[in-house]
């Protein structure tokens, strides 16, 4: 073994012929023997020992002492490895960065290891999407079981993997895909399985139930993996330069269109804004922190713009972001001059979604679309944005309606929130299922892209997962918020989305849609966003918006209750549950839509300004009960994610609840966060 060099040594473990595994071979009889492991560590001693141990486990080992080199190997041979084990502290590249890259580009499970066993570091590993974290010195027993991560990922992947890869997944088809995907070794994150699952659920729920043909447009499922790729791309480019076109190029996913990316980006920004979580490592985080409440008014106007943008493009075109931003900033259109912090694109993205929802009718349409987009992006929904959205509750209502109509059409409406959330008057109505109002075009384009409702919620959550998204608020067809980005939540596979199919509107905007859309997508999804992001920060996000969708109106809190039934999982799913829950209980004043979604995650979802009016709290409670059950998230790992997810879920919830309250922008809080079972 040549440890000194920078080369990667590939050694076949095993003496006997048992290693007959070939790449792309799928699971062979001798599995896990022959598992192809890539080990990256700058310490030659550790590398040597690990190699020996892995060989002893009958794995095929490739050593590498530099992260860059490892990436090269992975890139050159996309299917050449099943799992990656990487050290945290490396001189040329931070282990977490490598983790992100692998997750986004190759979607392989990555195990982190370090002599450092501090909680923060371990948490960081989780939030970045590591499927496991080993403390050095690593024992062989720990290595014997690593194959489980591969299986898990593949299992989930196949569900929606194709979707992501192609960008336009048809629900049914993808899922039907034979488990050949099992060998996909692409999903690197634990979350993937969740995402996949979510995606799958979403897809199923997207009313197509495996029958994609009904969809007008192929739906893009933002699985965790895909999302991570997205996040990575965005990080590479930098928030400022992260235009859909470039992101698309970087992601290099066949079948994915620029529109998909654009929508997703919008969504992400929206989430960011909503969540206001700064934790996103990726820069998008900042967006979250926006002042959620203030912007209520602006939200609506903003939404309108966004919606329009969305509407026009069907997905959020890059411009939409600008529009949204403009809207956020200027809020010229309406209502209150919400100080939407357009600051970062992220915010926009995240914000957009909620706004969309809340936006006026016209906006609504647009918004809904946008919302959907954002949904998928658990990025940072800033609570603020939500708040603004709330303000535009009215518009939201419209939006919801629109969304609903859209959602109904697309079936996949991300935001299919269960109309139950009457949080905001708007939402309520919308949730009601007005779908009809929503221009089908709206809903559809958005939804179809991302994932018909079901997809979104899940994805949203996933995305939220981690800061990976950074500012993934891509406007891409993220409508389906549920796009389980997979990447984002490493493990959080947003449980939120559980089943309600309520599209997790992760992007607030989506919420509205969700509501309408029949929630295929687990509403909870949205809230998740918030929770994650906001997790520790006050989520001023208009949680309310998310969760309740309907509860946008500050006063509507109660709306949440009804609609929350959306799939409790929505909120929960995200794992936020814990966080979300807390948030929810907080009663986010609808007006503010402070979804403090993220907070709940941390268990203390600091009730960010969940100003959603008191009722949201109720709603959230209810939602919690309903939704939380699924929240697998429990861990608030990703604070950032929560924000987004919370938002999403919140939005979703709201919608589901028939909200109306959605408008209150994220104010749904009442329900979202708290309900989420942590």
């Amino acid at each position: 073994m040549n440890l000194g060099g920078l080369q990667a040594v590939k050694s076949m473990s095993v003496p006997s012929s048992s290693l007959s595994r070939k790449s792309g071979d799928g699971v062979s009889d001798q599995f896990p023997a022959g598992l192809r492991v890539l080990v990256v560590d700058d310490d030659p001693i550790c590398l040597l020992i690990l190699e020996k141990m892995l060989k002893k486990c009958l794995y095929e080992v490739t050593k590498c002492n530099r992260a860059e080199l490892a990436l090269n190997y992975l890139r050159e041979n996309k299917n050449g490895y099943d799992i990656v084990i990487s050290d945290v502290h490396m001189p040329d590249m931070d282990g977490f960065k490598l983790l992100e890259h692998v997750g986004l580009e190759m979607d392989l499970p990555v195990i982190m290891m370090s002599a450092d066993d501090g909680k923060k570091v371990v948490m960081k590993g989780i939030t970045h999407g590591a499927v496991d974290y080993l403390i050095k010195p690593v024992r062989i027993e720990a290595l014997k079981n690593i194959w489980q991560h591969v299986v898990r990922k593949n299992k989930d992947e196949y569900k929606g993997k194709d979707c992501e890869q192609t960008g336009s997944v048809e629900d049914g088809e993808q899922q039907q895909k034979p488990p050949e995907d099992a060998e996909y070794s692409s999903s690197a994150n634990e979350g993937n399985w969740k995402n996949s699952k979510k995606r799958k659920d979403e897809e199923d729920e997207a009313e197509e139930r495996d029958d994609t043909s009904s969809l007008k447009k192929p739906r893009v499922v933002w699985s965790v993996e895909l999302h991570q790729q997205f996040v990575t791309a965005v990080n590479h480019l930098g928030l400022d330069k992260a235009v859909p076109k470039k992101i698309l190029e970087l992601m290099n996913v066949p079948g994915l269109t620029r529109e998909n990316v654009a929508s997703h980006l919008q969504y992400r920004l929206y989430l960011r804004r909503l969540s206001g979580v700064s934790q996103h490592q990726n820069g998008l985080n900042n967006a979250f922190m926006g002042p959620t409440d203030a912007t209520f008014g602006s939200m609506s106007s903003f939404n309108g713009i966004e919606l329009q943008a969305l509407a026009s493009s069907g997905q959020l075109p890059p411009q939409s972001l600008a529009i949204i931003q403009a809207a956020a900033l200027g809020r010229a259109t309406n209502k209150s001059p919400v100080p939407v912090p357009l600051v970062d694109q992220r915010n926009l993205f995240s914000f957009e979604s909620p706004k969309l929802r809340f936006g006026e009718d016209s906006l609504l349409n647009n918004n809904s679309k946008q919302i959907n987009l954002l949904h998928g992006i658990p990025t940072n929904m800033e609570p603020k944005q939500l708040a603004t959205l709330h303000q535009s509750a009215q518009s939201l209502g419209n939006l919801n309606m629109q969304l609903q109509s859209q959602s109904s059409q697309s079936g996949s409406l991300l935001t299919q929130r269960p109309q139950s959330q009457p949080r905001t008057p708007l939402l309520n109505e919308i949730n009601g299922s007005h779908v009809s109002t929503l221009p089908s075009s709206l809903g559809q384009p958005i939804m179809s892209q991302a994932l018909p409702s079901s997809v979104l919620p899940r994805n949203g959550i996933e995305n939220v997962r981690g800061g990976t998204f950074g500012s993934v608020s891509q406007p891409s067809s993220a409508l389906d918020f549920s796009v389980n980005h997979g990447t984002e939540f490493p493990g959080n596979s947003f449980p939120l989305m559980s089943n309600s199919g309520i599209p997790i509107l992760t992007s607030k905007g989506m919420l509205q849609e969700e509501v309408k859309s029949e929630m295929k997508v687990p509403r909870g999804y949205l809230p998740n966003y918030d929770t994650f992001d906001e997790l520790n920060q006050n989520r001023t996000q208009d949680w309310g918006v998310q969760t309740d969708g309907s509860t946008f109106d500050v006063s509507q809190h109660s709306n949440l209750q009804g609609s929350l039934d959306v799939s409790p999982s929505i909120l929960v799913q995200q794992g936020f549950s814990s966080n979300l829950k807390s948030e929810q209980s907080r009663n986010i004043p609808v007006s503010k839509a402070t979804f403090a979604v993220g907070d709940s995650r941390a268990g203390n979802i600091s009730n960010p300004s969940q100003q959603l009016n008191s009722s949201p709290a109720d709603i959230s409670q209810r939602i919690k009960a309903e939704r939380l059950p699924n929240m697998g998230f429990q861990n608030t790992f990703f604070p950032e994610q929560f924000g987004q997810d919370d938002l999403m879920s919140a939005l979703l919830k709201q919608q589901q609840e028939g909200t109306g309250a959605v408008e209150s922008e994220f104010g749904f809080d009442g329900y979202h966060l708290d309900n989420l079972p942590v």
Binding site: C46, I49, K52, D116, R139, I140
Partner: protein, 149 residues
């Protein structure tokens, strides 16, 4: 005779463990030894001493600077600690942890003091292991020859 040697070797090892020089990780390494790599542990340890010598030097230099760059010291020590615990050097690992704690609190004196301990332990372990491997080499081949296949 072989039995005696074996027993001696076993005793040596036991004492190393009892005195806290080595821990479970060392056993793990030994278990990795097989026919293909009969001297795996010795190889690893040799490599360890070769590599870590450089780290020790770096830390020494860094400790001479004024003011002390604790972040850098912590970084070096983190690497050193990682390697040390990989071979199962228990006492050494503990000293490293102590050193890192002092780094975190910015205790320069504590760092220097602890590092002296680290170097001491490092040297002591090296000697003991060298002795052990030497002995093991003697015993090993003999043993194999005698062991019924």
């Amino acid at each position: 005779m072989e039995r005696n040697l074996h027993r001696q070797l076993a005793n040596m090892k036991k004492s190393l463990f009892d005195q806290g020089y080595l821990d479970e990780q060392f056993i793990q390494l030994e278990e990795l030894q097989d026919a293909a790599n009969p001297n795996f542990v010795e190889e690893v340890v040799t490599m360890y001493y070769r590599d870590s010598a450089r780290l020790i030097q770096n830390i020494d230099h860094a400790l001479e600077k004024n003011p002390l760059d604790f972040a850098k010291l912590d970084n070096y020590m983190h690497q050193f600690k990682g390697s040390s615990c990989s071979i199962g050097a228990k006492k050494l690992k503990n000293e490293c942890t102590q050193f890192k704690e002092y780094c975190e609190t910015g205790n320069g004196e504590g760092c220097k003091r602890t590092f002296q301990q680290v170097k001491k332990e490092y040297a002591a372990l090296k000697k003991k292991l060298e002795h052990y491997f030497q002995f093991a080499r003697q015993v090993g081949p003999v043993e194999k020859a005698c062991r019924p296949k």
